[in-house]
């Protein structure tokens, strides 16, 4: 029962009048017993607020999932880049020596799984952004991440032979060396990953189509359930 629902025409309290779901619009309609005026038992603001909260929660979840996706792929992309630098360094220093099989398998995994996931994610999650902008943005983002990695000290004496930073070190040449040893090769590796990510676009498009199909089916089911006027045309 509503707390108070006053007829807009005659002022009678309609709180005790049971509304019926009318077939025309699917609204909870009631007629005033005194004057016959039709009015709608509206959803209470508290309930409306709850729905808005649910909607906001859904949007926040979407943002959160995208952030999780970005964080995970950033981590794997950065790892792939650093691993590529290390691998290239091994190849350069090792000469004709064969690489361990695990390293090759790992590299293949990184250059097949990570790029495919990256391509699918960038296509599906950021379909509203022009693709070239998104991919350039990802390259810039990875550049920033690689710079932050370079800022945090020498990684390995083999491919990052900078000294450990202390108070007396000249920081600008040290940073420039970091860009040379980490950021530049890392960006080239990221570029290679992005090129390898193009098959992921197809997967991303498939995901988008699947999502649209699910939304459409859900909507049709709902319309049928509510027996709205247009349900027969579906």
């Amino acid at each position: 029962m509503a707390i108070a629902h006053v007829c807009v025409q005659c002022g009678r309290d309609l709180a005790r009048v049971r509304p019926q779901r009318e077939p025309h619009y699917g609204l909870n309609l009631l007629r005033c017993p005194t004057c016959g005026a039709a009015s709608v038992r509206r959803v209470h603001p508290v309930q409306g607020g709850w729905r808005r909260f649910r909607r906001l929660d859904f949007v926040a979840t979407m943002i959160f999932l995208r952030l999780v996706g970005i964080s995970t792929l950033t981590l794997f992309c950065a790892l792939s880049s650093i691993f590529t630098i290390a691998l290239a360094s091994e190849l350069r220093l090792g000469g004709n020596e064969r690489l361990p099989r695990e390293a090759v398998i790992f590299a293949v995994m990184l250059f097949i799984i990570v790029p495919t996931l990256l391509g699918a994610f960038l296509t599906a999650a950021f379909a509203h952004i022009p693709r070239w902008k998104m991919w350039l943005g990802w390259l810039a983002w990875m550049g920033l991440i690689l710079f932050m990695i370079a800022l945090h000290g020498p990684l390995d004496s083999q491919f990052d032979p900078r000294p450990n930073p202390n108070r007396s070190v000249a920081i600008l040449p040290w940073l420039a060396d970091g860009c040379w040893y980490i950021v530049l090769p890392g960006l080239l590796a990221t570029l290679a990953i992005l090129v390898a990510a193009t098959p992921g676009i197809v997967l991303g498009r498939l995901l988008l189509r699947l999502r649209d199909m699910l939304i459409r089916s859900k909507w049709r089911w709902r319309r049928k359930r509510l027996r709205l006027a247009g349900a027969a045309n579906v």
């Binding site: 949007v59 995208r66 952004i129």
Partner: protein, 315 residues
């Protein structure tokens, strides 16, 4: 009239009329009850079937009747008060956390900035100790250690010796010799300041988004309050540096350099916090535009409406 009669009345409804009369346009922020789409800007129609005023959602075609709501019960207000109190508490915690964070960065950079000068004082005091030992004086309850490079230091030194020595020194001359008050501004301080700038700007963005009802001037005042709180917390180490007689080199260096560095760090934090506060909502809106497709943005329309901007549309 019984409810059964109503049902009969409504089940004999005509098919939807094609030409509903457009009465006006919805100017308020009103979300569709089914899909949450913001109905602002949609035409208000006088539908021909019941002669009621309706708004139709362009996204899911749900009809919303434009009528007043019934009165609320007591519990709605109680829950609203509880939520408001929880929000207030969260803001107070965030306020203290922001101030404490800025203070932490400031005191950290002040400590680091004193290291260079502290080292110089240590060397001077060490030289004095060695001279005293060589002269057979009464000093220094410490032992001389010769390092691999050949240099000699005194370990286990008596702090009362240091206090006595420090009182005899021309501190201004010592500071000049070290390179002045900014001698300690090495890259480590700049590194701390870099993270301080990032953290303060981020906190500014969070505050600008949390305090949606405040305009730019209000946000500036709030930023000032945060920095003043950080400065009040900063009085604790400043008083410690200035009021107590230094018992060791770091404290002595801190007495001369740290308060200025701490104040400068707070100023640096204030600049970035202000930048975050001024551009915070634009940054948040930009991030939302980046993260969400247009049809999902309507639930966050309040971020646009707070600055008097057009709410996001579905296209």
């Amino acid at each position: 009239m019984s409810s059964g009669t109503h049902l009969q009345t409504v089940t004999r409804a005509e098919p939807p009329a094609l030409a509903d009369v457009r009465v006006s346009t919805l100017i308020g922020d009103r979300l569709c009850i089914k899909c949450g789409y913001n109905l602002i800007g949609q035409p208000i129609l006088r539908e021909s079937h019941y002669d009621m005023l309706i708004v139709r959602c362009p996204e899911c075609a749900t009809v919303a009747s434009v009528q007043e709501y019934p009165l609320l019960g007591r519990w709605a207000n109680r829950w609203a008060s509880l939520l408001a109190a929880a929000w207030m508490l969260a803001l107070v915690v965030l306020w203290l956390g922001t101030s404490a964070g800025i203070f932490g960065f400031a005191v950290g950079s002040a400590e680091v900035a004193t290291e260079t000068y502290g080292d110089l004082i240590y060397q001077k005091f060490n030289q004095w100790q060695l001279q005293q030992q060589a002269a057979g004086g009464t000093t220094a309850g410490g032992n001389t250690v010769i390092l691999p490079g050949g240099s000699r230091i005194v370990v286990n030194m008596n702090t009362s010796d240091f206090t006595a020595w420090w009182k005899q020194q021309d501190r201004a001359a010592l500071l000049r010799e070290a390179g002045g008050i900014f001698s300690g501004f090495n890259w480590i301080v700049w590194y701390i300041w870099m993270w301080m700038a990032i953290a303060c700007a981020l906190l500014g963005v969070i505050w600008a988004t949390a305090l949606l009802a405040r305009g730019r001037r209000g946000l500036l005042v709030w930023g000032l309050i945060i920095i003043l709180t950080a400065a009040v917390i900063g009085l604790i180490p400043i008083l410690d540096w200035l009021m107590n007689t230094p018992t060791w080199t770091r404290q002595a260096a801190g007495q001369q350099i740290a308060p200025t560095t701490l104040a400068l760090s707070l100023l640096w934090g204030a600049i970035w916090l202000t930048a975050g506060l001024m551009f915070g909502r634009s940054i948040t809106r930009g991030l939302i535009r980046l993260m969400l497709p247009p049809r999902m943005r309507s639930s966050l329309a309040f971020l646009w409406l707070a600055d008097g901007l057009e709410p996001p549309t579905a296209t």
